[in-house]
């Protein structure tokens, strides 16, 4: 019996039992298709269909959104999502496809949307029937998010949207988009408002979704162009001019630092998926012959791999320690490090893997002789998506220096 289980409330204990039993009988079998590494890399409708079916069944069983009130499609439980997540991951289930919806849109709509809107959109969000995407970044607004220019102009009880969003993962599958818009050009932060927009319905009628190609050659990101798209005022979250505050709710939950725990499953082993972690790196080093000896015998590589093991373990232990208040001097000091550390550890892990592979690191996915099917060079390139997206590593260090250490604000 795991330690977290040992600390369950009665409700959690009973729910944990239920989850276990349900998962025993309802965990989906091997996927019919090669699964992507993460929901953000879903490329084909086959992949989506398989993952969506899993989310639907997990939702119907009450494992997703269970801490939300019944009225909006939840089960009104208290702190049970954590239990469901532990059990789903423990059971090595597939991940949930509607990741932006569950992790960012749901809490934001829940805290800032009107009752009618919540009741309409959240159930289909939890079930995965409606995929959600996020419209924050723009060509001119990356690290400096508050400089978004996509404009919503009021026309009676409607708003007319014009502009250009980029890096919108899943937009090509999404029904809805959470979007940060400018409603006042005179004020940078107070000139922003936050909406939900039914983009699928408007495809070809004011909304164009174009795929962006990553340096890996993969698609998955999109750019979304808005031309005179009309949306109802009821799709607005919170007041006009409060968009920045609403966006903070989104980012807080994205960082896992929000009130509502994000539903998570995953852990399903699949030969075709390949995680960027030190376990796989060590496996690679063991099976690679390099200058005549196993790479795992090379003292320099051993040292560099151990450096990564220590950072990886440290990150895991940070998350554990973050739950022990007596061992923290500052509430968000550890949580705010997660994204920065995870992305940089992944990047360095992939970089070392390429050195382990040596000249064979030149071989890519299409090459039958590529070690690990060419996944490591792809992982290395993708790692820059991680250190750039959702706040570059540079921005993350600013946030940590200013919010945690209390150093003077750079800008």
């Amino acid at each position: 019996m795991s330690e977290s289980a040992r600390q369950d409330t009665p409700e959690q204990a009973e729910f944990r039992q239920y989850c276990r039993q349900w998962l025993q009988h309802n965990k989906p079998g091997e996927p019919p298709v090669r699964l992507p590494l993460s929901p953000l890399e879903i490329m084909t409708t086959e992949q989506l269909a398989y993952l969506r079916a899993w989310q639907q069944s997990a939702y119907d069983a009450g494992l997703i959104g269970c801490d939300y009130p019944v009225a909006v499609g939840g089960r009104g439980r208290s702190d049970c999502q954590r239990v469901a997540n532990e059990e789903m991951i423990g059971a090595r289930t597939p991940f949930l496809p509607n990741v932006i919806g569950l992790g960012m849109a749901a809490p934001t709509v829940f805290y800032h949307g009107q009752a009618a809107l919540k009741e309409r959109v959240l159930p289909r969000l939890f079930s995965g029937e409606d995929i959600w995407c996020q419209g924050f970044s723009e060509p001119g607004a990356g690290s400096d998010l508050a400089s978004v220019q996509t404009f919503a102009e009021r026309k009676g009880d409607k708003w007319v949207i014009n502009g250009h969003k980029v890096w919108t993962s899943l937009a090509h599958f999404a029904e809805w988009m959470i979007i940060l818009l400018r409603t006042d050009r005179a004020h940078k932060y107070d000139g922003l408002s936050y909406f939900v927009v039914p983009i699928r319905a408007a495809l070809g009628k004011g909304v164009t979704v174009r795929p962006l190609i990553k340096i890996t050659g993969e698609t998955g990101f999109n750019e979304v162009i808005f031309e005179n798209l009309e949306v109802e005022d009821s799709y607005r979250l919170d007041e006009v001019g409060k968009g920045w505050q609403v966006a903070m709710t989104t980012l807080l939950h994205e960082r896992g630092a929000g009130e509502l725990k994000t539903p998570q499953s995953g852990g399903m082993k699949s030969k075709s998926t390949h995680a960027t972690n030190t376990a796989n790196l060590i496996e690679l080093a063991r099976t690679t012959v390099r200058n005549g000896q196993p790479a795992s015998d090379d003292p320099l590589l051993r040292d560099r791999i151990m450096q990564l093991v220590i950072r990886e373990t440290g990150l895991g232990q940070n998350q554990r320690r973050a739950r022990v208040s007596a061992l923290q001097d500052h509430p968000s000091r550890l949580l705010l490090q997660n994204k920065l550390l995870a992305s940089e550890i992944a990047q360095d892990t992939a970089a070392v893997a390429l050195e382990v592979e040596g000249a064979s690191a030149s071989l890519y996915l299409g090459d039958e002789n590529a070690p690990s099917g060419g996944q490591w060079p792809m992982a290395y390139m993708n790692s820059y998506g991680m250190t750039i997206a959702a706040g570059t590593s540079e921005v993350q260090r600013n946030i940590l220096g200013e919010r945690v250490l209390g150093l003077a604000k750079s800008k």
Binding site: E3, R323, E394
Partner: protein
């Protein structure tokens, strides 16, 4: 067997840690430390051994030296996580005293079985001790020693004995035949000569100790096994000391760069200062998390104690080096002066960084565990 989520770091542990922090803050602020240990700046000075013995006595009376001693022999039998909390505060204060040395001896004795009960009882009663188990080359091979035991007497020299001039007893490792014995010797016993080292670190003393026909009885004859069992706690506690000291370095430097103005801004405004300080914080947190994980492993998951302790000390050594460098660099000219306090921690950390194995050595041991030894 898995560990408790909260490291078993409960009420009691938190209370002790807080009271320790308050104890040092109230009784031994850094200016007092500086006045006490930095009196003589001559680079060719011989080793000093300046410390606040009365304050140390208070610590003994508070029972801090008996924390790790098993209850069976009159100690408090506290888990290592609790002790780690105390040691973190000791490091933050850089307080010169034989607490770490005594704890190291305690954990080693506790791994020696019944033969060590008398010694442990002495510690429970307030005696202090230090390990004398290192050879001239400071090899971290536990079997390495330059002391021999024969005909009931010890002969040879033990090197890098920490706080030797502050302790009452030494736990000496000596070759006996093909094995290794551990011996409990009074520092004032006949034939024991403590030869102080002139060291950089102003907050500790260090010596090599010569043994000339010192009569002694073995606490155990399986010294290597006992040391093997004790080292994870020893590595972890030194790492905890480093974490506390590094947190002092970080906070002190943050305070300075927030006040010091250059180019019409506080230094901390500049990312060239801000981001490296964030990296110091990141290293400290990594290390701190690994310390309590390792401590908890010693308490509840012995099969992985060595693995996690190697991680903790490797991380600590990197943290000590980086935090120290940044603390002097960002204090600028003033940080390069003797009068500024940062060099006290800079030097203590450099000492700690290389003691009981540096980062590369611990990673090499870790690799032997996780990947396996190279054939």
């Amino acid at each position: 067997m898995s560990q408790p989520d909260n490291y078993n770091f409960g009420e009691e542990a938190a209370l002790l840690k807080d009271s320790a922090r308050k104890f040092f803050a109230d009784n031994f602020p850094t200016d007092k430390l500086h006045k006490m240990v930095a009196a003589d700046h001559n680079p060719e000075r011989l080793s000093a051994c300046a410390w606040d013995r009365p304050l140390w006595q208070k610590m003994v009376e508070l029972g801090w030296t008996a924390l790790a001693v098993p209850e069976s022999v009159g100690g408090l039998g506290m888990p290592v996580v609790v002790v780690a909390g105390l040691v973190e505060e000791l490091g933050r204060a850089a307080f010169p005293c034989p607490l770490l040395a005594t704890l190291n001896a305690t954990y080693t004795l506790a791994a020696c079985g019944t033969g060590a009960e008398a010694a442990l009882t002495e510690i429970a009663e307030g005696m202090t001790a230090s390990l004398a188990i290192t050879n001239r080359q400071a090899s971290w091979d536990l079997a390495a020693t330059d002391v021999q035991f024969a005909q009931g007497t010890l002969n040879g020299t033990a090197w890098f004995v920490q706080d030797a001039r502050k302790v009452d007893r030494l736990l000496v490792s000596a070759r006996i035949g093909s094995g290794l014995g551990l011996y409990w010797v009074a520092t004032d016993a006949a034939g024991v000569t403590i030869l102080p080292d002139a060291i950089v670190d102003l907050t500790r003393d260090q010596a090599h100790v010569r043994f000339d026909n010192v009569s002694a009885e073995a606490v155990t004859n399986s010294g290597v096994a006992a040391l093997q069992q004790a080292m994870p706690a020893i590595w972890t506690l030194l790492a905890s000391d480093i974490v506390g000291a590094a947190e002092w370095q970080l906070q002190t430097t943050v305070d300075y760069v927030n006040t010091r103005q250059q180019f019409d801004h506080p230094l901390g405004y500049f990312q060239a200062v801000k981001h490296p300080l964030v990296d110091v914080m990141i290293l400290i947190d990594q290390c701190k998390s690994l310390v309590y994980n390792a401590a908890c492993a010693v308490d509840t998951q012995p099969s992985r104690a060595a693995e996690f302790a190697h991680m903790a000390k490797a991380s600590a050594s990197e943290t000590a080096a980086y935090a120290s460098g940044r603390s002097v660099q960002y204090h600028g000219g003033i940080g390069f002066t003797w009068e500024c306090f940062v060099h006290l921690y800079f030097k203590r950390q450099k000492h700690s960084q290389l003691l009981w194995g540096d980062a590369a050595w611990h990673r090499a041991q870790l690799a032997n565990i996780l990947i396996g030894k190279v054939a």
